[in-house]
Every structure is written in C-alpha cells, then in structure tokens.
Amino acid sequence: MGEVFVITSGKGGVGKTTTTANIGTSLAMLGYRVVLVDADIGLRNLDVVMGLENRIVYDLVDVAHGRCRLRQALIRDRRFETLYLLPAAQTKDKNAISPEQMKALCEEIKKECDYLLVDCPAGIEQGFRNAVAGADRAIVVTTPEVAAVRDADRIIGLLEASEIRNPLLILNRIRPKMVRTGDMLDVDDVIEHLAIELLGIVPDDESIIVSTNRGEPAVLNSHSKAGEAYRNISRRIAGEEVPFMNLENGGGFMDRVRRLLGLRTS
C-alpha cells in the first residue's frame, strides 16, 4: 500500500508542478513505483514538464466518470518504467470531479504503487479540496516572499481542518546572495514562522527553466543544484537522513542560536 502526498501551496507559481515532477522522477530513480496525478484541472501542465504531453489519450476526469479504465489513462514515463502520470483534463468545468471521486481514485491507485503524488492547483477552492481529498500527507511549497508564506500558512491551517497532520515544507527559489544581503526573507524566519517540518530547500536555478522547457526534470541533470536539492528531498521522503544543503548562509542555523543568546546579528 502506497502513500499519497499532495503538493500544495495556496499561492500560484511557486513551484508545485516543478516539485511534483522532480520528486516523482527521483523517487522512480531510486526504484520506487510512483504515480503522479495532475489535479490542476483545466490548466494541466505536469505532462508538459514531464515531457509526456503528446501521449495523452484519456485523463483524470475520464477515469473518474468511468469513460475508461485507470490502466488506459496512466501514461508510462519515457525514462523510468516504474513512473506513471495520470494527466488532468483540459475541461473548464471545475466541478468535473468531486472530492469523493478523487478519494476513491487515490485509494485505487495507491494499492499498486509506493508513492502517489498529487499536483494541487493554486487557490483554496474546489480544486484544492479535490486534491487533498485522498491525501495521507501534504508537502507545502513556498518561496521566501511574504505573500507566499502567508498563503502557505493559510494552507497549513486548511490542511489541519482536513485532518492532514504534520505537513512538510519545501522552501523553493532561495537565492543565497539575496538572503545574504538581507533582501530576501531569512530561511530560519520562514521555518520558525510556519512551524512545520522542513523537508528541503531548493535554490533558484536557471536549470529548472531549461529542464522544464525540455520536458526533462532537473533531477536528471547531475550538474543542477536544484536537481540535487530535489534528489535529497526524495531520499528524505523515502526515509533516509540527508543533511541539508549548504546554501551559503541560506540555511544559517547559527543565526537562530545567536538570537537565542541575545546577540542580534542584524
């Protein structure tokens, strides 16, 4: 029996889809059976990021409405044979699927995989409720911006209300230089503020843009810093203890200690 993770954020464009694709791919690289579900109905793009766009025949909504069997809709990845994608529909109807249908679908899929990752749409409406309906755990993605952190906080509250406890945090698009010069929210501050377990810190990295456009997740590129961060995150999900990447003071845990001692650093 697999575990269902929903990747969510509240705010749009912070890296949910990027995160889903990269974690999914690297879990498959580790040999796990992984299914990615794109719950961003109407705005699907996980298939593009995965480079599987032109293989879509059926989608999530077709499965939920019994227009095809699950096996027919699952698309096998080009690179890893234990990695599958269930694409979102392009329909404009937000109510094309209900939380109950989504839950049933997750239950069915997780019987046959190790990890099921659900790429959640932005916002807190129907799409969010659908995406979390079948989830066992949640990964909250945020960037070091006040608005993104605020939305992440809101989402964590809503996850609690949906009985999804102990969400994990990914801090995306960290720029060590800006953190150093004090132009970006401090990693420690964000973590302290959201008060949930940190799963990983992903640097802002051009290779993400390149890889997204090519349909090749960054974890496949051994030179990509962001790819390395996502590989570490996946190993943590799989239960390994992996130390946090040193992002040049980006994760300055010393800061906190100093503050506790009453010696303000800034």
Binding site: R150, D151, D153, R154, I156, G157, L158, E160, H193, L194, A195, R259, G262, R264
Partner: protein, 207 residues
C-alpha cells in the same frame, strides 16, 4: 513604575475618558472561585494557595501562606476570574479563536490569525496577528505575548495598529493595555502591576 509607551500609532476610538475599572466586576459576595478563610496571617509569602484544607499542616511546616481573604487583596493580585482556555496550537492565517473569557495560546499567532476574547489574551509565543481583548467591553483587558509584533491590537473599543514600515522587533515579552484612552505597549516584567495602581493602594503583599 516606569512606563514606556512604545507604540505611538494609536487611534483613539469612541470612549472619551477611561473611568471604570474591573473591580466592579468582582463581587466578593458572589465570589466562589476563591476560597475564603478567616485570617490572613501570611508573612513574606512564598507559597500561594486557594484552598484552606491543608492550612494547618502547612503552617506547622512554617510555610507562610498567602490566602486571598480580603477583597482588597483580591483586587490587587487577581486580575481576572473569568473562565480561561489554554489553546495549544499555532493560530494561522484565516483561523480565528473566539472565547468570552480569557485566552492563553501556547504557540504563535501568525499574520492573518485572530484571537478574540471577552477577557485577557496571553500568547506564549510570537503574536503577529490580530488580537481583540475585552471584546465585550472590558477596557481593563490586557494583551501579552513573549514577542508582540501584532498587525492590529484592539482592547474594548480602542484600536491600534503596527507602525508602518520596518521597525526593529524587540525580543522581549510585552504587554498592551489601555491607558488614558490609547493602547500602549510596554515591556513586561515579572511582578508587573498591570494597572499601575501601586501608587494608589497596593501595599505589601499582606494588604
């Protein structure tokens, strides 16, 4: 006691002059929360009890006991006898706590989170949200936090908001209350006399 009004951006709302104090709310006759006993012999108090059952044994052991006997003592030491809830969680954006009595939060209150209490609010963490103490009209209500960085504070009908722009946050417990028609924030110190009545009537602990 020294008063440092840290927060300058205070809006004065409705009420003209602060007159009444909470003491009217404490009726010694109807007081059931406190156990009364006949004598208040406590000398340099080191132990406080609300009950009288173990009195004799304790005094035998030479432990002076502070007993809340006189109405005056009650008024000075006990700020509120309202029902109090202890909430153990982080109050996040979009979440709101409402309680007619006092609220103690063991956690942080994040921006966009709200705590509304008929009585006092105490946050054992960082307060960054909106607090409304004395929401049912009690102007003597206070708001205290280990770190007070509120987006807005309200006490009864008085509102104050955080100063605009960056300001250095202080890593120390602070307490907000209404004084002379504005909400002021000052450093909290143990043994702090919230209403600054010491000059007027508070004497030794024995009253």
């Amino acid at each position: 006691m020294e008063q440092e009004a840290v927060d300058a951006v205070s809006l004065r709302a409705r009420k003209k002059k602060r007159g009444r104090r909470a003491k009217e709310q404490i009726d010694p006759q109807e007081d059931t929360a406190l156990v009364e006993s006949q004598d208040a012999k406590a000398e340099e108090g080191t132990s406080i009890t609300a009950g009288s059952t173990e009195r004799d044994e304790q005094e035998k052991d030479d432990i002076p006991v502070i007993r809340y006997t006189s109405v005056r003592q009650m008024r000075d030491d006990i700020i509120s006898q309202e029902q109090t809830i202890l909430v153990q969680r982080t109050i996040r954006s979009g979440q709101r706590i409402f309680y007619p009595g006092n609220v103690v939060v063991l956690g942080d209150v994040n921006p966009g989170g709200e705590v509304i209490a008929g009585g006092n609010i105490i946050v054992m963490g960082t307060f960054r949200g909106i607090a409304h103490a004395g929401a049912l009209g009690n102007e003597d209500a206070i708001i205290a936090a280990l770190q007070l960085e509120p987006s807005q504070l309200r006490i009864a009908g008085y509102i104050t908001r955080a100063p605009e722009g960056d300001y250095a946050s202080v890593y120390q417990p602070e307490i907000a209350r209404v004084q002379d028609g504005i909400v002021i924030i000052e450093k909290y110190q143990p043994g702090y006399d919230i209403y600054h009545r010491a000059d007027r009537k508070r004497g030794s602990i024995n009253g």
